[in-house]
């Protein structure tokens, strides 16, 4: 049995409180960045600095708050709870929270909980548009999770551990030459593509398809239900960015170098997003299982030869 | 070696050849023709051949019949046992042949034919096994009395 140095009580409480808050705030900033960049590309001015906050406040304070059943409500709690849990198991500079008590694999699974919660809630709305959206979203998940998991497994093999804290330590101890993106470039590429799919941005946003299925999962969401989705988006951007940074970009030794990496990752996604149209569901799978998966398998092969 | 002995040896060979020939002839008659009486006759030929063979086994050149005259042996005799056996076998054979012919008569009565293959088909039809012969079968599981089938054919 490996003994884990338990953090002091106070430190833990601070981590528990701070980590989700930091995630939320950074997430808001990331959303803002995404919207501003998009506006720049489209030669618009873009929203003001606090626009994400305004949006959330507006949604929560709307009068029309339609609930379609208790699962609909619980879904919202699961969304928020799932991501908050995920943040606590995702180490950031200075705070490793509970990352020692649950490793990378655990984190991946925790990240599926809000997804499932949302799927259940949407299902409870009894709107086929929503169900179709979920069907497409889950199909897309099946598509992008394959290269994603290959990348993650490859990374675990390279680092020889699935403990996130140690993964960060290994990269920081060895400097940029030991960063994932250097030691396993192919896996890093595959990971980038699959995480892009995870964010559900173009060209992988068939599950929203406003003109076709009326925004899919969001079709029956209004008021604070929509607000919760918005909050979820903040968390999601943050989580994906941090996870990628942790796995392939050396993680965070300090916030000053850490945050730029996270923003850079998201910036790549945002930049790519605006270049593409939308792929059909089966095309998403076919493409995901062909290119990123192929690259990832090749990368894994190299890793296996190496290890 | 005298001529008589040579002749006797040759007789032994002739006996064996004849026996085998009869058996083969009988087998041919049992396998190839479809007429029941011919088949029964084939059986007769086989039995005769076997009996002849059995006699030939006991044959010794230049030996006398194994009959004791006045309580003393008269030089070399042929083996008496096969002859006794053949006697029994002939009796059995006659019995079996009689039974066979009796059955042939009954078969002709009930099936109206002496063609062995037709008999087989009719039997199959009667006992409900028509899986392989749709053209002759009156229908699966339908037990058609033999007499009626007879009339159908005439």
């Amino acid at each position: 049995m490996v003994e884990i140095a338990n953090p002091g009580m106070l430190e833990l409480v601070v981590d528990l409180v701070l980590m989700p808050i930091v995630a939320f705030v950074v997430g808001l900033a990331l959303v803002l960045m995404a919207r501003r960049v998009r506006a720049k590309i489209e030669r618009r001015v873009g929203p003001p600095f606090l626009q994400p906050v305004y949006d959330i406040v507006k949604l929560y304070s709307k009068r029309t708050q339609i609930s379609h059943g208790w699962m609909h409500d619980v879904a919202i709690m699961l969304l928020l709870g799932g991501f908050i849990t995920a943040e606590i198991f995702l180490p950031v500079p200075g705070m490793s929270g509970l990352a020692e008590h649950g490793d990378l694999l655990t984190l991946i699974y925790i990240m599926m909980v809000p997804m499932l919660g949302m799927a259940l809630g949407v299902g409870d709305c009894a709107n086929p548009n929503g169900s179709i959206g979920i069907s497409r979203a889950l199909t897309a998940m099946l598509a992008y999770d394959v290269p994603y998991i290959i990348a993650v497994v490859g990374a675990c093999m390279v680092y020889g551990t699935s403990n996130l804290v140690e993964i960060v330590q290994i990269q920081q101890a060895g400097g940029p030459a030991t960063w994932g993106i250097v030691t396993m470039p192919l896996l890093a590429i595959a990971g980038l593509i699959s995480m892009h799919g995870m964010l559900g941005k173009e060209p992988f946003e068939i599950y929203i398809a406003p003109a076709e299925i009326a925004t899919g999962p969001m079709v029956e969401m209004s008021g604070k239900y929509m607000g919760a989705l918005f909050v979820m988006q903040c968390f999601q951007l943050y989580t994906v960015g941090v996870l990628y940074t942790t796995l392939f970009l050396g993680g965070g030794e300090m916030w000053l170098t850490f945050l730029p990496k996270v923003f850079a990752v998201i910036l790549v996604f945002v930049a790519i997003t605006n270049l593409f149209g939308r792929l059909r569901t089966e095309d998403v799978i076919a493409w995901m299982w062909k290119w990123p998966t192929g690259i990832a398998l090749l990368g894994l092969l190299l890793v296996m030869i190496d290890v | 070696m005298t001529d008589a002995m040579l002749l006797a040896e040759a007789l032994g060979d002739v006996l064996y050849t004849g026996a085998i020939g009869l058996i083969l002839l009988g087998l041919y008659a049992m396998v190839v023709p479809r007429h029941l009486v011919r088949i029964v006759l084939g059986l007769l030929l086989v039995q005769s051949g076997v009996n002849l063979f059995l006699v030939a086994v006991g044959y010794r050149p230049e030996a006398a019949a194994p009959i004791l005259l006045g309580g003393q042996a008269i030089g070399p005799v042929v083996d008496p046992l096969p002859q006794a056996l053949v006697l029994t076998a002939i009796v059995i054979g006659v019995g079996v042949l009689a039974l066979a012919l009796a059955l042939v008569v009954r078969v002709k009565d009930v099936h109206g034919t002496l063609d062995s293959r037709e008999v087989a088909e009719r039997m199959a039809a009667e006992t409900g096994d028509s899986r392989l012969m749709p053209e002759t079968a009156p229908g699966r599981g339908a037990a058609v009395p033999a007499r009626e089938m007879l009339e159908d054919r005439s």
Binding site: - | I23, L27, M30, L36, I39, V40, L43, V46, Q47, G49, V50, N51, F53, L54, V57, D79, L81, P82, L85, T88, A89, I92, G93, G95, V96, L99, A100, L103, V104, R106, V107, D109, V110, H111, S116, V119, A120, R122, M123, E126, T127, G128, D129, R131, R140, G141, P145, A146
Partner: protein
């Protein structure tokens, strides 16, 4: 030893005498004749039971008929094996004694003939007598096969007769070959002379002829084509006797020949090949059989094939396994034929049978389970014995045979349980369920099922008895020593 017990003659003489007497008595009136037949049947059983008390401990009775000492005289030889099969014969025939059927006492006469001939067949210690008794059994069985009075019965009996008579003729040829080579027909004498005079291809050819000849009744592989026809066309009781008992008697003869005279690998291989081919052919054909009667007919071909395979294993335990398979089959199959005889017609029409007559359906399932070899039924222990020997044999061919038998078991289960499952289904479409089973008709099956269930509790003693018996049978020296003291 030459026993003084002349009761050994009784099982042969009594029924034969009665068989010839019966038609005469029948002229006067039918019922005394029938009564006579039944009394003789029971007496036969009593004598056999008495014989068992004499040989049960491992003793043997040798009786030279007419006072001529062997090898010249005719010998009857009773050891545990022969008395066991006498017992099977006697019980089987009593259980399926002809009821009131048209034709007066004809069936009774033939049955008695079968009883006497069969008794002679297992007791004879002499090749030619075996032939004679075999013919008596054969003639009786032709008559019985035709006794159903249906058109198919005559045809089947005729075809059966032709094949069987041809087989007998060939067997006689085989006997002639043996005699020509060895100059004697006494089994014990032959056993002494065989290694010297019957070991070459001549011996093998003789064995082939004998096996093909006697194999007709034993349902051996290529000469069993009469089986489905006769078993379908003949009355149920005849089918039960022929499949259950008579076929085993021929197997006993083949066993004696194999052990005493032809104990060489060539003969064993021959028997193995024929037996295995019988297993494959029987199970596959049964798989596609249209009705229960044919299913069981083919299945008994396969079971007899198992017996042949077991006997071909050059080991006492192989013999034990063979005897076990034979006896087990003799108990199970007649019971199943009774069910098949009542529920004729396509298997697909069996729907609803279990509702109509639950005891019959349950007996069917139990007997099927035993014949497939599912623990804890006796059939399992029988198969364990057989396959254990097959896999333990030195020659890997036997392991292959074991594998084939295992595969055949699956096929066997497939066709038996297809029928069993149908019985619990409602009738298909507009079909009516099969006819209800009168308990009186089912009685033999119930008795046999009970026997099987009882045997479950006595597997070990039975097994030990079998092994002792097989050790005795498997040793040719014992036989020779008993018949011809002083030759060894």
């Amino acid at each position: 030893m030459i026993g003084t017990a002349h009761q050994i003659v009784l099982p042969v003489v009594l029924p034969l005498l009665a068989a010839f007497l019966l038609p005469l008595v029948g002229r006067l009136h039918v019922w005394p004749a029938r009564l006579l037949g039944q009394i003789v049947g029971v007496l036969h059983l009593a004598v056999v039971a008495y014989l068992w008390t004499l040989v049960g401990g491992g003793e043997t009775i040798v009786s030279a008929l007419g006072g001529f000492a062997p090898p010249l005289g005719i010998v009857l030889y009773a050891d545990r094996l022969s008395v066991l099969f006498l017992l099977v014969l006697s019980v089987g025939i009593l259980l399926f004694w002809p009821r009131r059927e048209h034709g007066g006492t004809r069936a009774d006469t033939l049955t008695l003939l079968l009883l006497g001939g069969g008794s002679g067949l297992v007791l004879s210690g002499d090749l030619f007598n075996i032939f004679v008794f075999y013919e008596i059994v054969a003639v009786a069985s032709y008559g019985l096969a035709a006794s159903g009075g249906n058109a198919a019965g005559f045809g089947a009996a005729l075809r059966y007769l032709l094949l069987s008579a041809l087989g007998s003729a060939l067997a006689l040829l085989g006997i002639a070959l043996v005699y020509g080579a060895a100059g004697t027909l006494n089994l014990a004498d032959l056993s002494v002379l065989a290694p010297e005079r019957l070991s070459g291809p001549m011996g093998l050819a003789a064995f082939l002829l004998l096996v093909l000849g006697f194999g007709v009744k034993a349902e051996l592989f290529p000469v069993n084509t009469w089986v489905p026809e006769v078993y379908t066309a003949a009355p149920t009781r005849v089918t039960a006797i022929l499949a259950g008992v008579v076929s085993k008697l021929s197997m006993v003869v083949i066993l004696r020949l194999l052990v005493l005279i032809f104990a060489d690998p060539g003969a064993q291989t021959l028997l193995l090949v024929l037996g295995l081919a019988g297993v494959i052919a029987g199970e596959l054909a049964a798989f596609r059989a249209p009705d229960l009667n044919r299913t069981f007919a083919f299945s008994s071909i396969a079971q007899l094939g198992l017996v042949a395979v077991a006997f071909s294993i050059p080991d006492d335990l192989g013999i034990a396994a063979g005897i076990a398979v034979a006896v087990h089959h003799a108990v199970v199959k007649p019971g199943l034929f009774v069910i098949a005889g009542h529920w004729t017609g396509p298997i697909e029409r069996l729907g609803g049978a279990a509702r109509v007559s639950r005891p019959a359906a349950i007996a069917f399932v139990l007997l099927s389970l035993s014949i497939i070899g599912i623990p804890p039924f006796p059939g399992f222990w029988v198969k364990l014995l057989l396959l254990g020997e097959a896999f333990a044999a030195v020659d890997p061919v036997y392991a292959l045979a074991g594998a084939v038998i295992l595969a055949a078991t699956v096929v066997e289960a497939a066709y038996l349980f297809r029928a069993a499952a149908l019985m619990w289904e409602p009738p298909e479409g507009d079909n009516r369920p099969p006819a209800a089973f009168p308990l009186a008709r089912l009685a033999p099956t119930l008795v046999l099922t009970l026997l099987i269930l009882l045997a479950m509790g006595a597997v070990s003693p039975l097994g030990e008895a079998l092994e002792a018996m097989a050790a005795e049978v498997g040793d040719a020296a014992i036989y020779v020593g008993n018949v011809l003291p002083g030759r060894i």
